[in-house]
């Protein structure tokens, strides 16, 4: 029982990091970033390379990895996405292309064997008769910290309020003199950074393989559809729902059944309420 609670919370926290970034990019820039999972993978591989090859201390490697992936996100938005903005399908396919290319690069550079990333917190706690790895708790805490940081940023800074304004009404924001184009790059960078942070936090206990970004992308996507594209609160709630239902089903029934929850939820949501259950307006 406690195990379900903890595991569910950890996975929800990671899902929330991924989903909020995904929905932010959609809400502000109106793009479905299929490279989101690739950023997650790059975060994990980044921290691996920086510790194993560049020999940075783990905490520094983590920060550097997140920042670098964030910058990559900005670059991709400026160079590849912006010229194609007129067509949603084109943007979708170009982010797909980026995702595939990144996966290929990782495969070529690191091979398909799982890589080992050392844990930041190497302690195993023993609570109420259950073993819980300290790293998982750290991931949970890390996720919460990042999300809290994002929330404060959006609420209390000028840039953050501007981003929130654009996500609510891009045209109106432009009339008020907020440069939407720059917003898009910044949000993309933030989103990529958050995905990378998720990758960094889970790297010690998840398999670090080139294709590791696919499933998280699917999950993030499902959460965002159910929660409402563009709704941050919806993403958090959705992340909790998915994280816990997957954990409960995985423990009680089977792992295979737990994997169907996300895609089934998407289908049901689209048929019943395409705008998502917490979203305020239709996204498309």
């Amino acid at each position: 029982m406690l195990q379900i609670l903890i595991y569910g919370a950890v996975i929800s926290s990671i899902y929330a990091l991924l989903a909020v970034g995904f929905t932010l990019v959609f809400g502000v820039a109106r793009i479905l970033n299929l490279a989101h999972g690739a950023f997650y993978a790059l975060g994990a591989y980044g921290v691996y390379t920086l510790t194993a090859n560049v020999h940075l201390p783990l905490w520094l490697a983590a920060i550097v990895a997140v920042v670098l992936v964030g910058l990559l996100g900005v670059l991709i938005e400026r160079v590849l996405v912006r010229p194609l903005r007129r067509s949603m399908l084109a943007v979708l396919l170009i982010t797909l292309a980026v995702a595939l290319m990144i996966e290929q690069v990782l495969l070529l550079a690191f091979g398909s064997e799982a890589r080992n990333v050392p844990s930041l917190v190497d302690v195993t706690y023993h609570l109420l008769g259950v073993d819980i790895s300290g790293q998982r708790l750290f991931a949970l805490a890390g996720g919460i910290v990042v999300l809290a940081g994002l929330w404060s940023f959006l609420q209390f800074t000028r840039l953050g309020s501007a981003i929130l304004a654009v996500s609510q009404d891009a045209e109106a924001a432009q009339y008020m003199g907020i440069p939407s184009d720059r917003m898009y790059s910044i949000v993309m960078g933030m989103s990529a950074g958050m995905a990378a942070a998720a990758g960094v936090l889970v790297a010690p206990f998840q398999s670090v393989i080139p294709s590791m970004g696919l499933l998280p992308l699917v999950k993030a996507f499902a959460i965002v559809v159910v929660g409402g594209l563009g709704s941050i609160a919806g993403s958090v709630v959705g992340a909790l729902l998915l994280g816990f239902s997957e954990t409960i089903i995985a423990f009680k029934i089977s792992i295979e059944w737990s994997q169907i929850v996300s895609v089934a939820a998407v289908l049901v949501t689209l048929v019943l309420r395409p705008a998502g259950f917490f979203g305020k307006r239709a996204a498309f």
Partner: protein, 308 residues
């Protein structure tokens, strides 16, 4: 000569070429590659018929392919029926899936429709793994019986079905039906105001698309002699969409050409298996940035203009 006449003559020429190729390059490896390419041709043409004409892009086309293939698998492996029954049953089962997915998604616009269809195929993919007792799980079903004894005969059989379905789809596309489907792409509300039962045509075109895709799935299954959950993947759906875009969306014959071209291309690069994905993504980028109308259909139209 009217544009249409030239099209049919061109198609006949392409068909003749496809008939002759295996006689020239006799190796069963090449015939095998071509047979698979022909199946992709059926999948691409069927996708184009619905999504290309109505503009409702279906990102879950693999649902119909897998449905047809697994039907063939079940009938053959689990029930021991002659493989010819698959060719009848597979399209029907695929149509059933088309109806199942089609009705709930009727009112969904563009991206929502695409996503709903995509999640449909993903759900089936998961179900296939969950019920591995019946479906063979990740390993799928093996040991299907081929339809005919020689690979060459199978090739011609598949070619026959591709030609027949291509002709059928093209005829429908050129008929008043096709006009209505294109009008649905133009504007649904205006279409209704023109007295057209839009929902009927949406469902009908999805059913026809599903039938041809399912038939292709069965032919593929009885050629590969195995079916697996990879036939329900998003990757398959996207690959087919890329082939359609390369060929020229909306033309029916263009996507067939695109399917043949990309299959041959990736086979010739088989040695560099790590780079295959690069090829696809490169093609994707080129099409998106430089050739949004595709390559094959526009090329053919240019040739046609020069002819007498």
């Amino acid at each position: 000569m009217t544009g249409d006449r030239i099209d049919w003559i061109g198609a006949l020429g392409a068909l003749a070429l496809l008939v002759v190729i295996p006689l020239i390059f006799g190796s069963s490896y090449i015939i095998g590659v071509m047979t698979v390419a022909l199946c992709y041709g059926m999948w691409a043409a069927s996708w184009d018929f619905m999504s290309g004409l109505t503009g409702r892009e279906n990102f879950g086309h693999s649902l119909f392919i897998g449905a047809g293939a697994y039907t063939a698998g079940f009938l053959d492996v689990n029930f021991g029926l002659s493989p010819w029954w698959s060719l009848l049953a597979a399209p029907l089962v695929a149509v059933l899936f088309g109806i199942l997915m089609g009705f709930p998604t009727l009112r969904l616009r563009g991206p929502y429709f695409a996503l709903a269809m995509l999640s449909g195929s993903a759900v089936m993919q998961n179900l296939t793994i969950i019920f591995s007792v019946y479906t063979g799980g990740q390993d799928g079903l093996n040991g299907l019986t081929p339809l005919l004894d020689s690979t060459l005969a199978q090739y011609y059989l598949t070619l026959g079905f591709l030609a027949a379905s291509g002709v059928l789809l093209r005829l429908i596309a050129n008929s008043p039906w096709g006009l209505i489907l294109r009008a649905i792409r133009g504007d649904e509300a205006t279409c209704q105001a023109a007295g057209i039962n839009v929902n009927f045509y949406k469902i009908a075109s999805l059913m026809i698309s599903a039938a041809v895709a399912g038939l292709g799935g069965a032919l593929y299954a009885h050629y590969q002699l195995q079916v697996g959950p990879d036939l329900f993947t998003v990757v398959l759906s996207i690959n087919i969409i890329i082939m359609v875009y390369v060929g020229g969306i909306g033309s029916i014959y263009g996507p067939i050409g695109g399917a043949l071209l990309l299959n041959v291309l990736t086979e010739t690069l088989r040695g560099l298996s790590e780079y295959r994905l690069w090829v696809y993504t490169l093609v994707l980028v080129v099409i998106l940035f430089f050739l949004p109308q595709g390559a094959i259909a526009p090329l053919w139209r240019r040739i046609r203009r020069v002819l007498p």
